[in-house]
Symmetry: C2
Subunit: 242 residues, 2 copies
Amino acid sequence: MSNETGHVKALVFDVFGTVVDWRTSISREISAVGTRLGVDGDWNAFADRWRAGYHDGMQAFRDGDREWMTADQMYRERLDILLAEYGITGLSEPGTDYLNRAWHRLDPWPDAVEGLTLLKSKFIIGTLSNGNIGLLVNMAKYGGLPWDCVFAGELADSYKPDPKVYLMAANLLNLEPREVMMIAAHNGDLLAARDAGLSTAFVARPAEYGTGGRAPDLEAAAGIDVGAASFVDLARKLGVDG
Amino acid sequence: MSNETGHVKALVFDVFGTVVDWRTSISREISAVGTRLGVDGDWNAFADRWRAGYHDGMQAFRDGDREWMTADQMYRERLDILLAEYGITGLSEPGTDYLNRAWHRLDPWPDAVEGLTLLKSKFIIGTLSNGNIGLLVNMAKYGGLPWDCVFAGELADSYKPDPKVYLMAANLLNLEPREVMMIAAHNGDLLAARDAGLSTAFVARPAEYGTGGRAPDLEAAAGIDVGAASFVDLARKLGVDG
């Protein structure tokens, strides 16, 4: 481990895009629904627009235009719009709810479980997501993610990058902010965590948005403590014997 | 599984006394400190009185006489009193802090890890303790407790048996109260959980208070859904194939 990270005791992870590959998983689920109901569509575009509903919902909260909502609620609102637009009318209410919970069934990136298991041997590992707690707990059981604790913006009635979300994680663990390292594939998240006093590590997820989607961050921004190519690489860089 | 518990999706556990044997662990740690510093004492009595500081602190909050405090803070306050009373004056501040964190290093009852692992195969399993989150996370790593999530009164700025603590767990998991089962060795905790709408299971821990201490609850009170002799027995009674 480098001298700069020797004080780190807990790692908290962004989840969507950093731990799990939401786009492939969501496209697969909605594509299966389309096939079953005889509807054609660009399912990657559906996934991207569904995901955008979550970002739009959080932004509306930040702008003061909406109350705090769970990810489940934001996804459901956008799903109803997209289903109508794509002409998918054959789903029952339980079927629609099940589809909405596709966000609870996202596949981990191939290195995620191995890397988290290595990191867990030396550090407290937890989520720090804008997804709601119930979603994150179900996702962990689905994907075998070995969290020690599940933290989310929900516990602070806010969303990242609000500094109080990052500081809440340190406070709940009775640690100094610098003893907690935020891990994400998104520099915006990391720079906000750094500004709140946390340690930071970037893990590259160049395939998050597929081809032709939004451009991923390919490397750590200036001021991020550690850059890694995977969670296994991160474990090595944080001094875990693999 | 009986018909009465088929709707249960998550199990939340009282921790001190139900999952871990606090009295044996604490007596051992304080006894070792006494031996090292050449002080004699009744270390079981020390443990009981230290534990009572936690109950007294929570009661003072319920009575409106104090602000909400973490278990760490309540234990530390009583520890300072007991160390003076027992004439233990040789501890440094780091040494005292380390001793106070003995509550993070409590041994699980012999059936706990096996039983939790069985139960985890079918249910979400989490804590619902009046201990603080940091303490519970450290204890889980110390004892190998395989929680899916760590919930505590801290997340509601209150303590059990305040109904809002029980309802918070259901709310965070997006479940109906009856879909969450509270597990405890203490009927008072279970009856309060039942009154809040949760399902309930009693697990007997007849050795919690040792011999001559407070009398343990030996069986489930009327109105508790399930009674079990251990976590492994509970798994069997909830339909988990062992």
